[in-house]
């Protein structure tokens, strides 16, 4: 088992599971549709970034529920553990595939979101870049929680409870970006923070996740 072969394996599996993969995206769209129904139209543009981010946060965490559960149940995780390739490199591939399957579609849904919330295109681009910068660390943080709660009965809700408080900085930095952009300020400072967090979590995350999985399976 090599990392590249495992990456293709993950992508193929996710493609085959596309019906399940689509569910968090449906969730994302349904929750997004609720706010315009209950809030007056004039408030929507100012609410838009926060609503988008919180909805994205929840749907990504929802998608992580199944990240390791199946692998624990069907015994696949033991094969990952015993593979000659380092576990962390395989985990990194799995996360990359997961990002492509679950997070990338959120970007594709952005034009629709812009239409619903009357967000102009240039603001959508800022939102998209905040998502691009923030979601990697979010995914990795959630994956750590998923690894720690893998195989537990209440794993799904536990994953949310563990991750949400720890994810506040990602949420706040991202909204600082959109806030500053809306006020015509340069938003490089919060963007660099998110980038730094993404780099640190991408380099340390897979190691922490591997160690957490070893604990979970022991």
């Amino acid at each position: 088992m090599t990392p590249s072969r495992y990456f293709i394996f993950c992508l193929r599996l996710l493609l085959r599971q596309r019906r399940e993969v689509a569910l968090p995206l449906f969730f994302f769209l349904i929750v997004l549709s609720l706010f315009p129904m209950v809030f007056p139209a004039k408030d929507l543009p100012s609410l838009a970034p926060a609503v988008l981010w919180i909805t994205a946060l929840l749907s990504i965490l929802l998608s992580l529920n199944n990240l390791f559960r199946e692998d624990v149940e069907d015994g696949f995780l033991t094969q990952l553990l015993l593979s000659p390739a380092p576990l962390s490199s395989l985990i990194a591939m799995k996360l990359l595939a997961h990002w492509i399957a679950y997070v990338l579609p959120l970007f594709i849904a952005l034009p629709l979101f812009g239409l619903w919330y009357r967000v102009p295109t240039e603001n959508l681009l800022v939102l998209a870049s905040s998502l691009a910068l923030g979601t990697p660390s979010l995914l990795i943080l959630g994956a750590i929680a998923a690894a720690l709660s893998a195989g537990l009965k209440q794993g799904g809700i536990l994953l949310m409870l563990i991750t949400l408080p720890l994810a506040t900085p990602i949420l706040l930095f991202s909204l600082t970006i959109t806030d500053m952009a809306a006020n015509g300020l340069s938003y490089t400072a919060p963007a660099y923070f998110l980038l730094a967090m993404a780099i640190v979590s991408a380099s340390l995350g897979p190691l922490v996740i591997s160690a957490s999985l070893r604990i979970s399976i022991s």
Partner: protein, 193 residues
Amino acid sequence: MTGQYVKIEKIAYTYGTRSLFSDLSFNLPHGCVLQIMGKNGSGKTTLLQLISGIKTCQEGTIFWDKTIHYTYIGHKNAIKGELSPIENLKLYNPSDNKCRQALEMIGLELRHHLRPCYMLSAGQQRKVALSRLFLSDAHVWLLDEPFTALDENTKNRMTLHLEKHTSNGGSAIIAAHEPLKIQKSVIKKLVIK
């Protein structure tokens, strides 16, 4: 380490407050089948997981011959239902031909090679899992209840493969509660209570 693949020295494992085994020592010589026997819940799986390195020992040490490699097939099949047997196996070996050969060696008919595994029976899925043994030239096979859900025909086939494996100098550790029918290779038995 001459002549031995694994040396297990004084290992112990407690689950919670229950001690599964303690002060357990044994070796795995070349060309030998070691059968781990014991009742349900006696710790056969745990012992196999300790040897394979999935779990870590609380006490004692397990020495592997560093120059060899091994394959572990747990009591769960570790195959993905949405993928076909070939797609599952390609993770371990990129060659289509090799994968097909491995499936033929365990006796999975050609017509099942390309359909998703969830459409296969439990026994057929077990065959897919076991066919991984023929993809790597592992010196040691670690098998946890390999014969579950297999028909007589496939059991005999597996027995022949085990005999061939040991005659080539390979070894196996098998957790199984029923006696093995192997005749041509050396069998060591380890009973844990």
